[in-house]
């Protein structure tokens, strides 16, 4: 294949914005977007809430500066302040840009873009389109990319970078339709493959494919990952699937009850009750379950989110989506019965370590979106800041790669390397004799992560988690692919995704074990307070001779001094 100037891996919000911006920056460039699902299927479509920008449409006195402060405070001071500056100052422009391209934002009475309040924000600055914000943003970007004639390789599964010395030669990927392993020689590669919170599997709100493929590929190529231990949990996921019941349910007056029928939030947040901050409510649910006050079921322990006292009318008019979800995925009508819930892994703050221009340590390789870590979210991301992140840094990635592509010569990817890749994924995975089942391993990984590397962490649990992950990695060597076909082998894809999750799980557990403090989403029972003198720094995880090796990177400070985070 003719070498590309830019290969973008991922067709979510970050990847598509990068593609558009790169074409705008230099229309002569040869650009390709690879995605394992059709771009419009990407997980960006699941974001309901909205994207933050200090437009000042709703609160006239809102400012970029306030948005910056809220973000830094929300991050528990682990975000890099120069990066947050970029994020928040670019926000109004990028939201208007989307608007100009056709995103159907909901509107205020004065016909400007509508905004609503969101957790952790001092002003109502979350721009939205009903409850389908991510979906409409993704649609707009996909449409605009079709208009610009972006070249898509849909249903291509990225396998690895081809690395020559300190440089990348490009990407190796499998064409799902044919099962062929193909070379994408390229001057530059942008990773935009989304998050890794699905490693918690049915304790996760994420799509099945949010398996951190890009992070795992980069990691295997020797690129450092940053702050992997920070995984955000949302308090109310559905018991069986982990899918999200949005905060709206509690906002309208829903109760959280344990098996004794007690509104247990009285114990943890007597004033705010069910409406306390996300991390606090998540920890409260988890405590109830750990102390034996949860319900039991084959699908695991859970608590009740009770809406029955709100009445059929209110539920039907204000919470129709939640009712539909609960009926579709739990078979429970919230008008009649309480919804079974428990905390669910929702967002990955960590990712591929990049600078503010999205460059990684490997020349010509960039990362953006949930897959990258600039870092703008630090130890805890604010709702509505992630869509913003993928747009702002997706665009920067596209521009930077387009400007820098000229500096590099494209590498070549040999037939021998492709053949070796093919052998690795296809040859090695039909072991004879005793073999391991994919589903069992994946279930075990989710379990061990939820139990040992979950909301509450503690030295002995984390050690247990680390050794269990190691055992799973060993067992994985004997995993069997039960579909032998070349055409659309989804079973093979699942197994490859599991491999990526196993590699990354190791970095999450290692980072969590090392970090002896509690900060943002990372709560250590044995180190319950934030320790700025020892731990005000980023964690780096690099693969050295097959092992996770931890390093550190200072946090870039700016106008805001460290303060205690209270709300």
């Amino acid at each position: 294949m003719k070498p590309f100037d830019i290969v973008i891996v991922g067709g979510g919000g970050a990847g598509l914005y990068a593609a558009m911006e790169a074409m705008k920056t230099n229309p002569a460039l040869n650009i390709a977007v690879l995605s394992k699902v059709y771009p419009n299927r990407s997980h960006t479509s699941a974001a309901q809430g909205g994207a933050n920008a200090a437009l000042g449409n709703k609160a006239k006195d809102d400012t970029v500066e306030m948005h910056i402060f809220d973000t830094i405070k929300g991050s528990d001071y682990l975000a890099d302040q120069d990066a947050v500056d970029v994020l928040c100052s670019e926000a109004p422009k990028i939201i208007r840009e989307l608007e100009n391209m056709g995103t159907p934002w909901s509107r205020m009475d004065d016909n400007t873009i509508a905004q609503r309040p969101f957790g952790g924000a001092g002003r109502p600055r979350c721009c939205y389109c009903s409850d389908k914000t991510g979906h409409t943003i993704l649609q707009t970007l996909y449409e605009q990319c079709l208009k610009k004639g972006v070249i898509f390789f849909n249903e291509y599964f990225a396998l690895n970078l081809s690395v020559g010395g300190s440089r990348s030669n490009g990407l190796i990927a499998m064409n799902m339709k044919t099962g062929k392993v193909e070379a994408f020689p390229a001057k530059t590669v942008i990773f935009a493959t989304g998050g890794y919170a699905k490693m918690y599997w049915n304790r996760s709100s994420n799509a099945a494919g949010n398996t951190g493929d890009g992070q795992a590929i980069a990691y295997r190529a020797g690129i450092a990952l940053k702050d992997m231990e920070f995984v955000q949990f949302h308090p109310t996921g559905l018991r069986k699937s982990g899918l999200l019941v949005t905060e709206g349910a509690r906002g309208e007056g829903g109760y959280l009850l344990n098996k004794d029928g007690e509104r247990f939030m009285a114990r943890y947040a007597p004033e705010k009750m069910e409406l306390g901050p996300r991390d606090l409510v998540s920890r409260s649910l988890e405590t109830e379950i750990l102390q034996g006050r949860g319900f039991d079921s084959p699908a695991g322990k859970y608590l009740h989110l009770d809406l029955t006292h709100l009445g059929a009318d209110l539920i039907k008019s204000r919470l129709p989506q939640i009712r539909e979800m609960s009926m579709n995925f739990e078979g429970v009508d919230p008008i009649e019965e309480p919804i079974p819930v428990r905390p669910t892994a929702h967002y990955s703050m960590g990712g591929i370590d990049t600078d503010n221009q999205t460059r990684t340590v490997m020349e010509g390789v960039y990362a953006a979106g949930e897959c990258g870590c600039v870092s703008v979210h630090g130890a805890n991301r604010l709702g509505g800041n992630s869509l913003l992140d993928i747009l702002v840094f997706g665009r920067i990635a596209g521009r930077t790669a387009a400007e820098e592509a000229g500096k590099f010569t494209p590498g070549t990817i040999s037939e021998a390397e492709l053949a070796a890749q093919f052998e690795e994924i296809r040859g090695g995975m039909h072991p004879s004799g005793r073999y391991e089942r994919y589903g069992e391993l994946r279930e075990a990984l989710g379990q061990t992560l939820a139990l040992n590397v979950g909301i509450f962490r503690e030295s002995s649990l984390l050690q247990k988690g680390i050794s269990e992950i190691a055992v799973l990695k060993e067992r994985f060597k004997k995993v069997r692919i039960s579909d032998s076909s070349d055409v659309f082998n989804t079973n093979l894809m699942q197994v490859l995704e599991l491999k990526n999750m196993l590699d990354l799980a190791e970095t999450v557990a290692a980072g969590a074990y090392a970090r002896q403090e509690s900060r943002g989403s990372h709560t250590r029972i044995d180190f319950p307070v934030r320790d700025d003198s020892n731990w005000h720094k980023h964690t780096l995880a690099t693969l050295v001779k097959g092992n996770v090796t931890l390093g550190e990177k200072p946090v870039t400070m700016g106008r805001y001094e460290l303060q205690e985070r209270t709300y």
Binding site: H43, P104, E143, S241, L243, D486, N491
Partner: protein, 344 residues
Amino acid sequence: MTVSTDQHKEGKKDVTFRVFRFNPQVDSKPYFDDYTIPVERGVTVLRSLNYIKEHIDGSVSFRAFCQAGICGSCGMRVNGLSQLACTTQVWDVLAKSREPGIIKVEPLRNLPLIKDLIVDMDPLVDKMKHYANWVDSTMPEAQMGKKEFLISEEEFLRYDKATDCILCASCVSECSILRANKEYVSPAVLLKSYRMNVDSRDSMHEQRLAELVKDHGVWDCTHCYRCQESCVKSIPIMDAIHGIREDAIESRGKNDTSGSKHAEAFMTDIEKKGKLVEATLPIRTNGVVWTMQNLLPMAMKMIMKRRTPPPPPLVKSVKGIKIFRTMFREMTEHVKQDHKSHKK
């Protein structure tokens, strides 16, 4: 027997999934495989398929991603009806199943089959490109991001529902015209085209419309409503189709294409007689020459078989035509008013 009563207590039912199988590498034609599994209340078709794939047969192939009804990956036919596997409850389907205890799962129709339940979505994407399913902004690229367009709530509501579309292709699979003509624009693409055409930020309404009125376009639709009935997001697709047609007649004139002429002739007949004057409908739609060339042979055959429609002078008005005409005029007037207030 004890097993089944026990299962009943737990609220489980044995369900047989009859799954469409086809692997182009080895199969010369498709076949069905049966998988019987216990399913409790609250379990979706997708979860059942996942279970089958993980525990019984890893080669069963289908697409799924969000598992929450938002990404549009898992469109398939469940007991004959195109829908999302991830939002479809097994017990609900069972309750309506013709064969007790059996659920038939097949790929979407009207798109090329790849393997098992997976069809090729590229033809749909190609049509989105062909009909320019994007906003071609009136704002020059260099000016973008500087200021917002001001959009009224009213305008927003015009395309709000249409932007719910998740491109799952259920409507495509159900469309009766697509079965006969794969080049037909497709309901989802009509919906998206309409959504773009009513967006005041867009600048290529005319070109898009010009494309939509050509062959395989909006006039080919038979108004069977199947797309709307099957839409997984309950989008009123027919409003979009009617919207495009009215727009086409309004801005391109009645005599623009055979489609618009046909619609107009239809209206005239209904107003005058309360029913169709079928014999001359083709002439009024396509002109004398076309009719002679294309329909004369068929007309001859019909005459031979004495199945011709009555000649125009013999077509009597239906009973109560006076009242009908008044109602008809009131209705058209009403529709016109409605449109005017919409346009404002």
